[in-house]
Symmetry: C2
Subunit: 303 residues, 2 copies
């Protein structure tokens, strides 16, 4: 990414992250909402631990920017962005559990089941997932759009999306998938939420189906780039430290496209995906500058 | 319950359970829905194991009957009923996990984490919870009603409802709550979904707020009766087998209203709640006969 574009993007991402954090903080307040009986302190504290952790908020950023592109009401976009982040964070809380990845630390802090206990972490994840739909159902938008967003989010997050992808990922540790299998796994596990983030914008704004398809395609391209960059980082970081081209995933027996085709192929693919993603935004001109920069950020990231 | 009323009710409950099972079977088909990428076999199988288990489907029955009372479209009511059952079943799958109640059997079959593994059970619960919102968002009803149902269901199931109640229940094992605490815990853990089941009917049918309030109050009364009957069963079954009035919950250090006040008080309370619940249905005459019988069933049940 060129210096100016990178600086502008980094500042915009950080500013959005602060606003998202504020909104999540308000949504996770102790005061019960209409229809709720009470918000138990310990469960709420565990949910807050899992969410208010200084994340980059990249998915919410995509929602906010794709919505702004079509002139959507910022407050409505913010709530959809916050709901999506609740889903992303619930998946991390459950992923970190001993029966899953068994991680003790996330972003340098104890994971939820280490800071609290396993049962609390399971319930905190469940409650964050549930809260996401509560938030989307309450967004200040016409009911048709709210219901479309609930449906899109459920399908991106569930059996046929993220949760299904996590299942395929567990299976891939035992039985390495072929190239088509890897692509499907990643489209579900990481791609579906990123695609949702981009497609949500035109839906929030009530833009036409053509815009929706275009932004969904943009989301697919950067979702794929996101995963390739991840795999490449893993591959090259390990190559540097271990002196050979086998990374953590390769060591764990996980097949990735980067491991399959090597770093040069991966870098060419990444460049192609960034070009394709930016091309999809061409009709929107300068208004899409930050989204366009996001595509570069995804491919260039170093952590 | 008088013989005729009981027979009629039992037959209606069994017939509804069969139809609910069929609908759940169809909703949990292998074919992906629009917006889904693929439905991984193992995850789907675990979800089906957790749901298609010959349950009584009491909560779905309440949805179907409360909807029929106001002339709602049966297919729409069936989908809301199936979604609610997905939520109930997800909570059982997660509740059975080693970190929670650590149960090996449910309805005489291995629990999901015993039949598959813990990671699969966690993901199957997550995916069932997500599917519930997918189903409600797709019900053939005006968008306003769908969004109202999503919101009601999220608040009944989440932090301020069932999930919060499960958290309070875990805490109650360490630190016995007072009477108000027990009532709140139970209103959240078991009451919220039963209340939702009854209130959903008028919402599906687009009936007025007055009917909605009346059915919600009916749901609260039978939810309370459901829990009291459970506690009473536990108290008296244990008293019979152990020769003293301390049941499984009491032994586990769990406070219940039945344990606090004794079986006679509990039976009087139950009778009072049934009378109150049936009184709330008086304006609907014979059309509410099955719902009215349900109130008796809840209080009289022996298992």
């Amino acid at each position: 990414m060129k210096g100016d574009e990178a600086d502008h993007f980094t500042a915009a991402l950080a500013a959005a992250a602060r606003r998202v954090e504020q909104r999540l903080d308000a949504l996770l307040a102790i005061h019960p909402q209409r229809g709720e009986i009470a918000r138990p302190e310990r469960l709420l504290a565990a949910m807050r631990h899992g969410v208010l952790n200084g994340g980059k908020r990249f998915r919410p950023f995509l929602v906010l920017e794709s919505a702004a592109l079509f002139g959507a009401e910022p407050a409505a976009a913010m709530d959809v962005a916050a709901a999506l982040e609740c889903i992303h964070c619930y998946s991390l809380v459950h992923d970190d559990l001993p029966a899953m990845d068994d991680d003790d630390l996330r972003r340098g802090r104890p994971t939820v089941h280490r800071a609290y206990d396993e049962a609390t972490a399971i319930l905190a994840g469940d409650a964050l997932l549930t809260l996401a739909f509560d938030i989307v159902a309450a967004v200040e938008l016409p009911a048709e759009r709210r219901v479309a967003l609930v449906s899109m989010l459920a399908r991106a997050a569930g059996l046929g999306g993220m949760a299904g992808g996590q299942m395929l990922d567990l299976a891939a540790e035992r039985d390495a998938p072929d190239e088509a299998g890897i692509i499907r796994l990643q489209a579900m596990k990481t791609g579906a939420l990123i695609r949702f983030a981009c497609e949500a914008g035109p839906v929030i704004a009530g833009a036409s189906g053509e815009h929706r398809e275009r932004l969904a395609a943009f989301g697919e391209a950067i979702g794929l780039a996101f995963q390739l960059a991840d795999d490449l980082l893993d591959l090259t970081a390990s190559a540097e430290t271990m002196g050979k081209a086998t990374g953590k995933d390769a060591a764990a027996g996980k097949a990735t496209l980067a491991a399959l085709h090597g770093p040069d192929w991966t870098r060419r693919q990444l460049a192609g995906l960034v070009a394709q993603a930016r091309e999809l935004l061409a009709p929107y001109g300068d208004g899409a500058a930050l989204l366009s920069a996001a595509a570069r950020f995804v491919a260039d990231r170093r952590s």
